[in-house]
C-alpha cells in the first residue's frame, strides 16, 4: 500500500463508523435523553418541568421501589449461581460424542428459543395450583396443590425456576465449547498420575473453564438484573408486589402511571447498578489473570 499514514488511520475509522452511528443514535442518545428526563416532571404526552433531584429523592423514600430493588437482588442471587452450577454440570455430563448426548443437548437448548410470552404461558399451566401440571401430579399422589404464583414466599422462587428453565441453553453451550478446548493430553497426563475424577475436575477442568465461568456469571447477572417479561406475565409482580422486579416498576411508572420522569430516574439507578455490578465482577475476576 502506498497510501499515506493519515489516510490509513481514517480507513480504520471507516470500518467502525457505521456501527458507531447506530450505537450513538439508538442507544447513547436515548440514554442521555433519559438522563435529562430523570430531572424533570414529565408525563408521556409532552408536559415537562425541571424538578432537580426530586425524582431521585422520591425514589429514595418509595417503599415500593425498595421492595422492587430487593426482589431484583433476590431473583439474581437465586438464579445466577444455580444456573451456573446446573449448566456446568449439564455440560460435563453431555460433553460426549454419542447420539443420545446430542439429542439431550438439543432438548436442553430448546427452551431458549421460545419467546417470553410462550414460556410464561407454558409455566402458568405448569404452576397454576388447581389445573397445572404440578397440581395434577400432586393430586395424583394425594397431596395438596401449592399456590406458587399467589403465595408471597413462593412467587419469587417460581419466577426463578421458570427463568432457569428458560435460560439453560446459552450457558450450557458456552461451557460445552469451553470443555472442547481443553487439550486431551492434560487429561492423559493426569490419568498417568492416577488422579481421581474429582481431582481432575478441581485441578484441570475448573481452572481451564475459569474464563467461561466468569463470562457466564457476568452475562447472566446483567441479564437477570433486568428481568422483566416473566414477572409481568406470570405474576404481574404480585401478590402485593412480592415479585415485582425493578424493570416492572419502571414499566408501571411509565406506561401505567405515565410518570416518565420518575420512570427515567428509576431506569438510571438500574443502569448504575448494572454498571457497578459488572465492573465489580470484572475487577474481581481480573487480578489473578496472569496465566
Amino acid at each position: 500500500m502506498t497510501a499515506g499514514r493519515p489516510a490509513r488511520r481514517l480507513e480504520g475509522l471507516a470500518f467502525v463508523t457505521p456501527f458507531l452511528i447506530v450505537y450513538l443514535v439508538i442507544l447513547i442518545y436515548p440514554l442521555l435523553m433519559g438522563f435529562v428526563l430523570s430531572f424533570q416532571r414529565a408525563d408521556l404526552f409532552g408536559a415537562r418541568t425541571f424538578v432537580g433531584i426530586d425524582n431521585y429523592a422520591r425514589l429514595a423514600a418509595d417503599p415500593v421501589f425498595h421492595q422492587a430493588l430487593g426482589n431484583t437482588f433476590k431473583l439474581t442471587l437465586l438464579i445466577v449461581p444455580a444456573l451456573t452450577v446446573i449448566t456446568l454440570a449439564l455440560a460435563l455430563a453431555l460433553n460426549r460424542p454419542t447420539r443420545g448426548a446430542a439429542w439431550l443437548r438439543g432438548l436442553f437448548f430448546s427452551s431458549s428459543v421460545l419467546s417470553v410470552t410462550i414460556v410464561t404461558l407454558i409455566w402458568r399451566f405448569v404452576l397454576t395450583p388447581d389445573a397445572g401440571l404440578v397440581a395434577e401430579i400432586l393430586q395424583a399422589i394425594g397431596a395438596e396443590p401449592i399456590p406458587f404464583l399467589s403465595d408471597r414466599n413462593l412467587a419469587i422462587p417460581a419466577l426463578a425456576v421458570t427463568t432457569i428453565w428458560w435460560s439453560i441453553g446459552l450457558p450450557m453451550m458456552l461451557f460445552l465449547a469451553g470443555l472442547q478446548q481443553i487439550p486431551e493430553d492434560i487429561y492423559e497426563a493426569a490419568a498417568l498420575d492416577r488422579a481421581g475424577r474429582w481431582t481432575r475436575f478441581w485441578r484441570i477442568t475448573l481452572p481451564s473453564l475459569r474464563r467461561t465461568v466468569i463470562l457466564v456469571v457476568m452475562l447472566q447477572t446483567a441479564a437477570q438484573l433486568q428481568l422483566f417479561g416473566q414477572a409481568q406475565l406470570l405474576t404481574a409482580g404480585g401478590p402485593s408486589g412480592a415479585s415485582r422486579p425493578v424493570v416492572l416498576f419502571i414499566y408501571e411508572a411509565s406506561f401505567v402511571r405515565w410518570e416518565l420522569g420518575y420512570a427515567a430516574a428509576a431506569a438510571e439507578i438500574l443502569f448504575m447498578l448494572v454498571l457497578l455490578v459488572t465492573l465489580a465482577q470484572y475487577w474481581a475476576a481480573r487480578p489473578r489473570e496472569g496465566e
Binding site: 500500500m1 450505537y23 435523553m33 430448546s110 407454558i122 393430586q139
Partner: protein, 260 residues
C-alpha cells in the same frame, strides 16, 4: 435423566394441551393425559390469516436484524481488532460500556425519538433497535483477534487493500462466528417483546410475540386453552427448526471463540 424429564415435562404438557378439545380442558385440564386427541386447534390456527402475517413480520424483522448486525459488527470487529485509528481503545471501551445499559433506560426516549421520525409501525422501526447492541461488536472483535496476524500480513505484502483483505481473506474465516452471532441475534429479535409491543401497535405490523398476546383475551385461556397452546407450538416451530439445523455450527463456533 431426571433433569431431562424435568426439562421436557413442560414442553410435553404444552403439546398435549394443544391436542385436546377446548371444551374438555375447560372442565378439567387433567384430561390432557388421556385420549381423545384432536388436531382441531391447529386447523383453527392455520385458518386465521393473521398468524401467517405475524409469522412473516417476525421473519422479516429477525432476518433484517440478523443481516444488519452481521454487517455492522463484522466491519466494526475487524476495525477494532486489526486497524489503528485515533481513540481506538477509548472507543472500544465506550462500546463495551453499552453492555450495561438496560433496555428500559433507553426505551422511552427512543420511543419518542422514533415517533418524531415516524418510524413506528414500520420494519425499520422494529429492526433498528436490534442493531445497536454492543455484544456483537465485542464478540466479533474477539474472534478477529484470534485469527493469526500472519494471514493479513501476507496478503498485505501481495498489495491487497484493507477492504479486500477483510472481504477475501478474513471474513471467510469468521463464518462460524457469523453463524453463532447470527443465530443468537435472530433468536433475540424473534423473541423481543417490549419494543414491538409499543412500536408495532397496528396489527399488520405485529410480530408473533405481540400478535399471540393480542389473541389471548382475558378468559380465552379458559375457553380456548388448547387453541392458545397450539398457537404457541406453531410460533415456536420455525425457530426450533432453525436451531436444529445450525446446532453443530453453534457449538463449534462458540468453541472457536469463547476460550481465547
Amino acid at each position: 435423566m431426571l433433569g431431562a424429564m424435568l426439562m421436557a415435562a413442560p414442553l410435553v404438557w404444552t403439546l398435549l394441551l394443544s391436542l385436546k378439545a377446548n371444551s374438555e380442558l375447560m372442565r378439567d385440564s387433567g384430561t390432557a393425559f388421556s385420549a381423545p386427541y384432536t388436531l382441531e386447534n391447529y386447523r383453527a390456527v392455520l385458518q386465521g390469516s393473521s398468524a401467517f402475517r405475524w409469522l412473516l413480520n417476525s421473519l422479516i424483522v429477525s432476518t433484517g436484524t440478523m443481516i444488519g448486525v452481521l454487517i455492522l459488527c463484522s466491519l466494526a470487529g475487524y476495525g477494532f481488532a486489526r486497524l489503528e485509528f485515533p481513540f481506538r481503545r477509548t472507543l472500544f471501551v465506550f462500546v463495551l460500556l453499552g453492555l450495561a445499559i438496560p433496555e428500559q433506560a433507553v426505551i422511552l426516549p427512543r420511543h419518542q425519538l422514533f415517533a418524531a421520525l415516524h418510524l413506528h409501525n414500520s420494519y425499520p422501526g422494529l429492526i433498528l433497535p436490534g442493531l445497536a447492541g454492543p455484544f456483537g461488536v465485542f464478540f466479533m472483535t474477539q474472534y478477529f483477534r484470534a485469527i493469526p496476524r500472519e494471514l493479513d500480513e501476507a496478503a498485505m505484502l501481495d498489495g491487497a487493500s484493507r477492504l479486500r483483505i477483510f472481504w477475501k481473506v478474513l471474513l471467510p474465516l469468521t463464518l462460524p462466528a457469523q453463524a453463532t452471532l447470527g443465530v443468537f441475534t435472530f433468536l433475540a429479535a424473534w423473541n423481543d417483546y417490549w419494543w414491538p409491543l409499543i412500536s408495532a401497535t397496528r396489527s399488520e405490523r405485529f410480530t408473533l410475540t405481540v400478535g399471540l398476546a393480542s389473541a389471548q383475551m382475558n378468559y380465552a385461556q379458559t375457553s380456548g386453552l388448547g387453541f392458545l397452546m397450539a398457537q404457541a407450538v406453531f410460533a415456536s416451530l420455525p425457530i426450533l427448526i432453525v436451531y436444529l439445523l445450525f446446532q453443530k455450527q453453534i457449538v463449534r463456533a462458540i468453541a472457536g471463540t469463547s476460550g481465547r
